[in-house]
Amino acid sequence: MKNYFLRHFQTLFFSLGQLWSTPVATLMTIAVLGITLALPAGLFVVLENAQQASGAIKDSAQISVFLKKSVSESSAKRITKKLAQNKNIERTRYISAREALAEFKKYSGFGDAIKAMKKNPLPAVIIVTPKQSAADPETLEALLKTIRNNNQVELAQLDLEWVKRLSAFLVLAKRGVWLLAVLLGLGVILTIGNTIRLAVTNRRSEIEITKLVGGTNAFIRRPFLYSGLIQGLLGAFGAWLLVQGGLLVIAEPMSQLTSLYASQLEISGLDGPQTGLLLLIGASLGWLGSRLAVGRHLREINPT
């Protein structure tokens, strides 16, 4: 038994040596695998974050109450105070037409176009945040109705519809990413398979001789399997670097974007178990690709 592990260990080092002896080819293979694996892994991370974000937004559902143009600022403030006393409402925030315009100018990029307008087209808004306890659809619906009954309100809108749509879209996107992952996983198998095929061809005479002195197919296969496994593992590590590096690059603009919707969102990369899974998938795909290629090409080499 000790001998068995020792031999595997020796084969592992032999394979490492073989890869080391052709550094450029090995690096190229690993780079291809890294990019191939990074694509689904990266998309997965983006989706995961988006899902988390949409969840956070759902919890902080807000009602935008647009007031009629005719409502004066003082009566608008009165309405705001009155709403704040409702038992289902956590807090209210009044945004005057002027403030709304300023905010719109800042974020929309239509600043100049708006300057050209003589009159402020925006109405005053009250942002109503319901209590957590009132976050179920029926209570919100009832609350909405109460607010709409006020004849000074032009429109009251629950900002939840788009969140629902977003999460439906995310489910679809996740499916898409899985599909892509399966296809790219196949790509990894083919890439490794091709690399191993070349290695088998290069070492054809060695394989022949090993067979003639009584080497079993399992013995001959072993270094190639290790080679595939190592390359798959390193490829997965490369993908991890790409994903985490990519996240660093987009972290800044992303947090700016999310801060517009919900305040305390942080971008999370691949955590421990996810990293482990990525490495495991990379290694398994490398092993599998190698196994398929070696099995096929070993049969072509005589003697059997």
């Binding site: 001789i209 002195v213 009584g214 080497g215 003697p303 059997t304």
Partner: protein
């Protein structure tokens, strides 16, 4: 040790390499197989080492029925045969030591045992001081001796040599043949394909001659030859 009964081998395309060949090699015997190129010597060797399978006939090697041996058993079967090739078939990117060690490595022996046996085998062929060299730095005769060391490192009961002296001059050929003769004296069955008639005369061992895939002469049935 080797029993052929009406062995025929037809290659795809219809070429008959062997036609109903029958002979028997006893344990510890030394046999020369001779004949022109294309007479079927190489095919015979390929059948005995199960590189190829006979089209017809019964083949037994080392008390094993080769007709019934399944593919996965072939490696274990070959570990009991030492095979020597005219072109050595050495691994040029490995040292002499590693080349000779290969049959032991594939059998999964531990390192100390491998070292002991490889040294013993290299000592036998007189190359103990060259174990760290690479095959290309050796002369033709030395390369052939590395091949022989590799073939006998497992201590197989049967040695097959295909034209082992094909590229060597007389003196080196004599040395190589004497090595085989020595293994034979120590109880190993030795079968050598050669068309070096000088060696046949010198060693006076059994001779089997093939011509166009048929057995045309076997000194065992030649009383005159055996009387000499």
């Amino acid at each position: 040790m080797i029993q052929l009964e009406n062995i025929s081998k037809r290659y795809p395309g219809g070429h008959d390499a062997l036609k109903a060949v029958t002979f028997n090699v006893k344990p510890e015997e030394m046999v020369f197989v001779t004949g022109h190129s294309g007479a079927g010597k190489s095919t015979l060797f390929k059948l005995i080492t199960l590189i190829e399978r006979p089209t017809r006939g019964i083949l037994q090697v080392n008390n094993k029925n080769c007709n019934k041996l399944s593919n996965w058993r072939i490696p274990y079967f070959r570990r009991d045969i030492g095979i020597i090739f005219q072109d050595h078939k050495l691994l040029l990117d490995r040292t002499v030591f590693d080349n000779v060690a290969l049959p032991l490595v594939v059998s999964g022996l531990n390192h100390r045992e491998i070292q002991r046996r490889v040294r013993a085998s290299l000592d036998k062929v007189g190359l103990l001081n060259k174990e760290k060299l690479y095959p290309l730095t050796l002369s033709g005769g030395e390369q052939q001796r590395v091949g022989i060391a590799r073939a006998v490192v497992n201590k197989p009961p049967l040695i097959l040599a295909d034209e082992p002296t094909g590229n060597l001059d007389e003196k080196l050929s004599d040395e190589i043949m004497d090595l085989f003769y020595d293994f034979h004296v120590h109880g190993v069955t030795v079968m050598i394909a050669t068309h070096d008639l000088r060696q046949l005369k010198r060693l006076q061992k059994r001779v089997i001659q093939l011509a166009e895939g048929q057995l045309v002469y076997d000194s065992e049935n030649d009383d005159e030859y055996n009387a000499q």
